[in-house]
């Protein structure tokens, strides 16, 4: 038989490190995910489908994925802009802004949720301005969109920043020497170099937004058929002790997450092939 399972190594600790890794991985990750798959398998596809196939659940899935996509798209544009400004320009406060980009990662989602609601509710600082102008932000899809933008904000910036930092000076100098305008250089030389990393950040931001719960439920208002996100319906099913229903929605979301993980990996492989680094 070809390759051995584990190559011999002079370094000790194989047994203990493999033992701890596989045991903890099994208890914390594999067993629980296995239980979800098993629950789905024992219920059967027909039952799962009948649980998911209701207007309310399709509505929530459509809302979640549509708004997550839009939020990730928004973050793609502003994430690249932020990365560019933070890497290339030097100004007072740059360090602070750079550190603050990670705030959505560090701030607990429940805190972000009530803070955003306080800001965008009709009597809040920004919400009252919207009210003057005649529209509502909190308790509408727009509010959910803003919460999803908040939680996904750092991904694109953090994946694109190192790539911008590594662009060699010659690339832009050659482009300028050959007569390209600055705009032409940015569109045809720089943006293509950033695309793979930006798309990776986009996918990460999208995946995060789809599963997001804490920061959304406060600002969403959770009106059936209008502002209910998919994760909320899992919580509702669990509160009704409908484990099969919760499993059906959970598996649907997991399947979509899995596809997105594959896409992320494919993008990374493709981009590594096209240019030397990303």
């Amino acid at each position: 038989m070809g390759r051995p399972l584990v190559h011999r190594s002079p370094i000790p600790g194989l047994g203990i490190s493999a033992g701890i890794t596989l045991t903890m991985l099994s208890i914390v990750v594999i067993l629980p995910i296995g239980a979800l798959l098993l629950k789905g398998a024992s219920a059967g596809f027909v039952t799962l489908w009948s649980e998911v196939n209701t207007p309310r659940i399709w509505g929530s899935l459509w809302l979640s994925f549509r708004l997550s996509f839009l939020a990730a798209l928004f973050n793609l544009v502003f994430g690249v802009l932020l990365a560019w400004v933070l890497v290339r320009y030097h100004f007072v406060g740059r360090r602070i802004l750079d550190a603050a980009v990670d705030l959505p990662f560090a701030l607990p989602t429940a805190v972000a949720g009530i803070a955003l609601t306080a800001l965008y509710a009709p009597n809040g600082a920004f919400g009252s301005i919207a009210k003057e102008l005649g529209f509502k932000i909190a308790y509408t899809p727009l509010g959910i969109f803003l919460a999803l933008v908040f939680v996904g904000l750092p991904f694109v910036t953090r994946t694109v920043q190192p790539v911008i930092a590594e662009i060699e000076a010659e690339v832009e100098e050659v482009s300028a020497t050959l007569g390209a305008s600055r705009l032409y250089t940015i569109i045809h030389v720089i943006l293509p170099m950033l695309t793979p990393a930006a798309l990776t950040g986009f996918a990460l931001s999208l995946a995060r937004a789809v599963g997001e719960y804490g920061s959304v439920i406060f600002i969403a208002g959770n009106i059936p058929f209008k502002t209910e996100i998919a994760p909320l319906l899992i919580v509702i099913k669990l509160e009704e002790f409908n484990y099969v229903g919760a499993t059906a929605i959970g598996l649907t979301m997991l399947a979509i997450s899995f596809v997105m993980l594959l896409v992320i990996n494919a993008i990374q492989i493709l981009s590594r092939r096209r240019i030397g680094y990303v």
Partner: protein, 282 residues
């Protein structure tokens, strides 16, 4: 004489416009939510804010969150070190698959994570039922909250250590072994000093997320007042009872934790950039 503009930058007017947009965007999207937390907490003055933290419910929540973090974070740190050692010091089949499995919690909704734990260890399941009958309930109790927190923070430490340990290679450890050091001695005197800042960095992120986790914990905790309500859960309960000052005061404590985390993280990145994965992940 026209001013020379480097081909690597934009016209000053465009540059300053972009910088202004960045400031405005971050002020609205990031700083405003942060400031409003403290503003709402201090609406009736600092005394009211601090007093609201003294009530038994908030105090119990703070204690529970500290207990959960004190269990989940060290366990995940041990896992992270073991996994990084296993993955970087040995060659075996299925390594890429193992790394994918470790990363899995990052791409799973916290709510689905909570659901998975309920389906595995809930009192209606085989394992959970047996444990509950013997007096060790997992779900709607402390162990479930710890498990949920571990699930969502599972990859943090391993992810931070693996790139650093790959870069450092195995030569130093092999040299120490040749000189007769024992396995543990090699780990504590050669490996650990090389990875300590990356380890601290991973632990920092793991801790921030563990203390702040909401979705997964909301499902497994059962939200029993004073018993299984962590800080984020208590924030939700207070907020829904319109106890705004109390909710935002507790939120302010977590926001301060987030700020301290960011500060320490930035300090580590500036001081030990060469020893961290994050700063040269590229």
């Amino acid at each position: 004489m026209s001013k020379f503009i480097s081909p690597r930058t934009e016209r000053p007017i465009l540059r300053w416009t972009l910088i202004a947009i960045t400031f405005a965007f971050m002020a609205v999207m990031l700083f405003a939510p942060l400031i409003i937390v403290f503003f709402e907490a201090l609406r009736n003055g600092a005394v009211a804010a601090v007093e609201s933290l003294g009530n038994p419910e908030a105090a119990a929540a703070i204690k529970l969150t500290l207990i959960v973090a004190a269990c989940a974070v060290p366990l995940n740190a041990v896992f992270g070190v073991a996994a990084a050692w296993f993955i970087t010091k040995f060659d075996f089949r299925g390594k890429a698959f193992l790394i994918t499995l470790i990363d899995l919690p990052f791409s799973i909704s916290p709510v689905v994570a909570g659901l998975c734990i309920v389906l595995t260890f809930g009192s209606a399941t085989m394992v959970g039922g047996w444990l509950t009958d013997n007096g060790y309930p997992i779900v709607f109790a402390l162990p479930g909250i710890i498990l949920a927190s571990m699930f969502v923070t599972f990859p943090f430490v391993a992810r931070e250590l693996i790139p650093v340990m790959i870069e450092q290679g195995r030569a130093e450890e092999e040299a120490a072994l040749t000189l007769g050091a024992s396995g543990w001695r090699v780990f504590f005197t050669v490996t650990l000093p090389n990875i300590r800042w990356a380890l601290l960095y991973g632990v920092l992120l793991c801790n921030a997320r563990a203390m702040g986790e909401f979705g997964a914990v909301a499902i497994v905790s059962g939200k029993i007042r004073g018993q299984t309500a962590t800080m984020p859960i208590t924030i939700e309960m207070l907020y829904q009872e319109y106890l705004s000052i109390a909710a935002f005061s507790l939120a302010a404590v977590l926001a301060l934790l987030a700020l301290v985390t960011l500060l320490l993280k930035t300090a580590l990145e500036l001081r030990f950039a060469d020893q961290l994965a994050a700063t040269h992940r590229a």
